[in-house]
Amino acid sequence: MNENLSRRNFLSRGSAAVSAVWLSAHWPAIVAAAEHAHQAAKSSAPDKFQFFSPEQAAEIDAITARIIPSDETPGAREAGVVYFIDRALLTFAVDNQQTYRDGLAGLQSRVHELFPAVEKFSRATPDQQDKILHSFDEQGAGGGRVFRSDPSASSFFETVRLHTIVGFLIDPDAGRAGNRDGVGWKLIGRDRDHMFQPPFGHYDKDYAGWQPNPPDAEKTKA
């Protein structure tokens, strides 16, 4: 039996009389399904690299750790972002392989140029690493709302930045070896549950209920 169909039938059993309380009481079946997905994602987490050499992986890992650093809370390193990227380069980001190959070479030159005494990026101090990365970052601050932007980034730095962010915050149950143990979502405060009930936060918890508008509205307020 298709698991999803049974889940759907389960959810809609009864009728309008089914309350949110009833649903939540019966939710463990759904949670079990989610947990199953989670375990599947976990067991498929890679422990070795398929694209990077160990040396390359150390360099990439060091970059991701400056993009989302580890401090009192976990960063890209704890989220296993380098493993996510390694796998990405063999799957959805296969077109970026050359960007990484060329970029790693360019990184090495830049390290020598800026800090001749430093052997490689991963051996530099965090301050030196930031200086090196800033030398690649042409955009500085700035975002803007992305509805559906072009996911490909042009430069090596932009590509690693993009992949680090995606690897840190992707659904941990997506089976992509990113956001290990959900540490990225934990950082931003996103619960891993698949279902939520109101009140959701501070502002709706004391909402007194809908009160009608006064009937005297004028259509043009301008």
């Binding site: 930031d130 803007g144 930045r161 915050l169 950082l187 996103r190 939520f196 936060g201 508008n213 259509k219």
Partner: protein
Amino acid sequence: MRPDTPKYKTSDEVDFVIVGSGAAGGIMAKELSTNGFRVVVLEQGPYLTEADFVHDEIKVLTEDLLTNKPKLQPTSFRKTPDEKAKPQRALVYGRCVGGTSVHFTANFWRFHEIDFVERSKVGPIPGADLRDWPITYADLEPYYTKVEWEIGVSGLAGASPFDPPRSKPYPMPPLPVKGSGVIFERAARKLGWHPFPAPMAILSQPRPGRSACVNCGFCLAFGCEVGAKSSSLAAAIPVAEKTGRCEIRPNSYVHRIETDSNGRAIGAVYFDEKRNTHLQKAKAVIVCANGAETPRLLLLSANKQFPNGLANSSGIVGKYLMLNSGGVATGVFEEQLNDYKGFAVSRILHDFYELDPQKVGFHGGGGLDARFDITPVTFALGGLSPNTPRWGKAFKDALANNFTRTMEVFGHGTSLPVETNSFSLDPDLKDAWGLPALCLTYKDHPDDLKLSAWLSQRSLELLDAAGAKQKWAPPVSEQQFAVHLLGTCRMGDDPKTSVINSDHRAHDVKNLFLCDGSSLVTSGRGQPTMTIEALSFRAADRITALAKRGEIT
């Protein structure tokens, strides 16, 4: 379990072949098969089901699980017809059974009376060809009600003083209010505006085979895992299939409508998954392929008899495209909203639906909504203020603080119909099947840009009244990416200035009907799907009546 559905032979002349299974096509299939007709629906995308709808932002947003595929279906863009178009991603639409209704936000505003008669009311507008509809709000009202009851819309009748008259209340109460909705409601009232619970095509109560919304938080751009979002996939197609007269044929890319020597449509030509070509014969063809692909299909169907494209004697197929204007402002608050939980929108307002051009200095109107529709990766890439560093500790700290404390106020408004704004066939660019790609030509009417900026200002004003700690709005810029695809085969009584009549019948081809966003004469105030679905219910009634009287073939 899906019921057994018929498998029609392509040589079997069915009553109707419907191109597209989205908001309009799904309802058309449901209505016509329920009315006893034999129907084949040709859908270019795959037949996905709830089990396929995951929260994986790479699969959904980067690999386009549910949407058109830029690698297979490249597009181009230019601002005006005298420019050479450059290849770039120019639009997004649903490419799966259920179409765009699978991933939409589900804001289900009815159009108001003004949207149908605006031209008569405001007169001509320089640089635009604004026209009245051949039908009125009153003609469409029963069909809006049908959408609400048969497809499933949550809302509160009478909550907005600006609402047009309605014959029935909503079938179910509004969805719960979110933190963004509470903040919006309080601030709007402070300003003397009239917020109200958003009408949403998402179930607040379960229906047979469908769950009420479980607030999973992956809503806009994602498919619903529990059938709570009232897509055609969840709400219309199962009914069509249950009749035993409707075949949904996925992975079928229609690229030509075949006509005979009498100028009658005889069926739709499509590529199957293996790129073999077939002609599905039918007594009549109904194109519901969206406001970009419908005109493209007509233009691709050009032949000796119809040298400018099928149903294009007016020369306006693909023209008068309207994308809707709008502006967004973002606010960050002291305490946690956790607005990532749930659907996108719980409160809206329509105080600015009809602005007075004498007072504001431009034509148009719109509404505001309170929302948070951004999933984690998308938030990190575009949800922080423009002066936040893009990486490093300050970036990380901003992510940690803001994700749960952010909301947006989104303004949605009119676009004026401008002849040069269009979808056309790119003369050089080809898709993966070797057919001419879509070219988007678009330059917002100056009034649309002024309206967008005006709505942005109102959004900031609201966030200010709400006490946001931080707020910003990106500057309004000309659009070059299409989401709402409206007006490209518009309806009208005059065959010189419209493509279809009020029965959705092409003026030039007796047994060809078009129904989707392309049919719209005006853009409404930013939320077109409700109207597209009401039109589809109405068109199905008209087509049924014509067929029963033997007036189609």
